[in-house]
């Protein structure tokens, strides 16, 4: 009982500080969890490679932040912070979104065409995850996967601009949706072509440019802006970075919730999740719904990746996606997989549970917490807190 008593006093001592930590981490989990839950809702498939979608965002931050003129030891100040933050955030989201869509195309759609069993999807996802991780390991400057470093520089910048432009156009069109018969809209084939070209070019830039930017060993990400305490909550200092995490998360979640509930595409996603055949009888293009679902999940993971890096100052590390990825999955199950609001709730809860566990069991055991929570949830309430309401 000593342990429990110690635990209680420790938690009481650090309550506000740990609440703060839990909420920040939980926000990030929640955003990653959305990707798992949405894909699960639409395809009843766990996207094992989602942690890599998250990872790519942290890699994108590595070169997006310097691209906006912020270097190590020279953080942005004043109003510029907001613009740079938004710029970097969009870059990271674009990178993750593109990877998520690519994953769907290359690792999942061929299997869907063949009516492959579930196990095949999981293995394919594990393969894709491994592939992506080590692709980035190979690009870390020590081993060059493609010996084209020499031609990188003269081509890099224009390609970056063209590729970025195409990516933005493609993603924009994809989200607004195109329909036959409406004048002035690009048709689906052109759109897919555009998207493919844009992702190819972006991919090529990543492959070519990254070793140059990173140098021979992975560098830590430059600090985007310096930390300062904005206010103190019952003795726990709340920094501007943590406030930023919560604000960005809330904004993203509100946008997502509105997207899923209020827009035509969002209704399509929910319809496919509830009854895909009936949805296609209503005129829903299922493939597009699947792509958009992966895209939206990717965008969220992209935002989460940047926030994770800013708040924890985590170095760029190719396996960085694993832990947050797996915990976000736990969060999704905790909230009820397939349930979008459940993922949000589950993320926050898991973040808090982990934070409150720190004073009790110490940081070296903290990663066990998530798995224990997962097993407990699956054993006692396998449908999660809010229930496994796919598409709700």
């Amino acid at each position: 009982m000593d342990f429990l008593a110690d635990c209680a006093t420790n938690v009481a001592d650090q309550f506000w500080a740990q609440t703060r930590n839990g909420l920040t981490l939980g926000s990030i989990y929640a955003m990653i969890a959305l990707g798992y839950t949405m894909v699960y809702g639409v395809l009843q498939l766990i996207n094992f490679a989602h942690s890599e979608v998250f990872m790519v965002s942290t890699v994108a931050a590595l070169y997006a932040i310097p691209a906006f003129g912020v270097t190590d030891g020279d953080p942005a100040t004043g109003i510029a912070v907001i613009f740079i933050l938004i710029g970097v955030l969009l870059c990271c989201m674009a990178a993750s979104g593109a990877l998520a869509v690519l994953l769907e195309r290359l690792a999942y759609r061929p299997l869907r065409k063949r009516h492959a069993p579930r196990l095949s999807f999981l293995i394919s996802a594990i393969g894709a995850s491994l592939f992506i991780q080590y692709l980035f390991v190979l690009m870390d400057g020590q081993h060059y996967l493609f010996p084209i470093r020499g031609i990188a520089d003269p081509l890099g910048t224009p390609l970056l601009i063209i590729g970025g432009f195409l990516a933005v156009v493609a993603i924009g069109l994809l989200v607004t949706g195109t329909r036959r018969g409406e004048e002035g809209w690009v048709d689906a084939g052109t759109l897919a072509g555009l998207g493919a070209i844009a992702t190819l070019i972006l991919g090529a830039i990543l492959v070519i440019k990254l070793p140059d930017i990173l140098g021979p060993t992975p560098q830590s990400v430059p600090e985007l802006f310096s930390t300062s305490t904005v206010f103190t909550l019952f003795g726990a200092p709340i920094s501007n970075k943590r406030i930023m995490v919560v604000v960005v998360t809330v904004v993203m979640l509100v946008i997502l919730d509105a997207f899923v509930r209020r827009t035509r595409m969002g209704r399509g996603i929910r319809a496919v999740a509830q009854d895909s055949e009936a949805a296609s009888l209503m005129g829903v293009n299922i493939n597009r719904v699947v792509v958009v679902t992966f895209l939206v999940g990717g965008l969220m993971a992209g935002a989460a990746g940047l926030l994770y890096q800013i708040v924890l100052g985590a170095p760029a590390f190719w396996f960085i996606g694993f832990k947050p990825g797996i915990k976000a999955f736990v969060a999704a199950v905790l909230g009820g997989i397939g349930n979008i609001r459940g993922a949000m709730l589950g993320g926050l809860l898991l973040g808090l549970v982990e934070a409150y566990a720190v004073p009790c069991i110490g940081t070296q055991w903290i990663d066990v917490t998530a798995f224990v929570v997962l097993v407990a949830v699956l054993m006692f309430r396998p449908t999660g807190i809010l229930g496994e309401q796919v598409g709700a």
């Binding site: 639409v42 395809l43 009843q44 498939l45 766990i46 094992f48 690792a107 061929p110 299997l111 869907r112 065409k113 063949r114 009516h115 492959a116 069993p117 579930r118 196990l119 095949s120 999807f121 999981l122 293995i123 394919s124 594990i126 393969g127 894709a128 995850s129 491994l130 592939f131 991780q133 080590y134 692709l135 390991v137 190979l138 081993h143 689906a188 496919v272 895909s276 055949e277 296609s280 293009n285 299922i286 493939n287 597009r288 699947v290 694993f322 797996i326 736990v330 199950v333 070296q364 055991w365 990663d367 066990v368 998530a370 798995f371 224990v372 997962l374 097993v375 699956l378 054993m379 396998p382």
Partner: protein, 417 residues
Amino acid sequence: MSERQRELQRSYRERLQRMRAQRSSARGKLREVIAKDAEPITSRWRALRAWLDEHSKVSYPGLSILLIAVIAFLPLLGEVVDLPSELDQATSGSVLARVMLFSLFALGLNVVVGFAGLLDLGYVAFWLMGSYTAAILTGAQDYSEKIQQGASFTEVQEPVWQMWMWLILAIALGVAIVTGIALGSPTLRLRGDYLAIVTLGFGEILRITANNLTSVTGGPRGVRSIPHPEIRVGDAELVWGTLLDTKYYWLLLALVILWIIAIRKLDDSRIGRAWVAIREDEVAAAAMGVPVVRMKLAAFAIGACTAGVGGVIYAEQVNFINPPTFSLIQSILILSMVVLGGMGSIAGSIVGAAALVIIPDALLREQDEYRFFLFGFVLVVIMIFRPQGLVPSKRRKAELVGGGQAEILDPAHARSS
């Protein structure tokens, strides 16, 4: 009126039953037909596949013995004939011993994934249990700790192998089985994709525990001086040496053969058929009286004890273990072997292990990054183009090609996007 309603109800119920019956028979037919459709059209392919199918299950004892003899002779090949350096490297005792070690692991995981259809992503946990059991029981952990604390090499006795230590194999087997059942019983009721994550979690938990429980496992510094095995009967003695000793290959080969015989017997038994039923349709299997959870547990325990035994030999061979040895990537590596070879296929497990150990070793020496990069790629490509693996098991192939429990949306419903 009520009479008419009852009438309606009855006819409706009948109609429903008839519909159900029709549907299920149609589905069975459908699966057969799809499997047939999936046969490649070109005769060359068909011939190759027929050859593979025929040879994936060597049924003549004479042939088997010949094959075993050839395989056992492999490491000596370099001494007899002049081999190109790549081949020489590939047939060296240490590489072949690794092949056999991973063959053993792949055989074990194949029972779980291939036979019972349970995706276990934490298979390394049982390997860890085996290795640490050996490290602790041989006294190596105790020794390492004392050295760590500054004892001089003369003060403490480096552990040496004694005959009773062969018991460790049996103990490790027991420990692994108990671990398997302990991990399995709360989780095996879960749906397949949840099971994957939970097993992954357990693997990680065990690794973290090994890392943090310094007093028991030695923590991050690991355990060294695990003694090499030996056999002494009277004057005769058989001593295994360092990592490179070819005798490890023969020891592991013997274990692999033993395991193949046992697993094949299992596969052909009632248990094997129960696994097929579970894989095909769990609910139906349960309805037919198959004790689903117990059968799954059996698969889990068999897989676990295989890894436990392999873990013991591994620890004794390499002499040194630490927690990072047992990272998730090893589970995935072993899974890749099973998948590459063909899920559910015994010969496939060996072929998969051999391919994934030898090819990277001969071609990309000391470049793990390339190896894992390629593994990832190979996994995706195999799932897309040859989900049944290189040496498919006949039973499994029909399922993997024919769709089995597929419920994932068919993109053909909406092709343009």
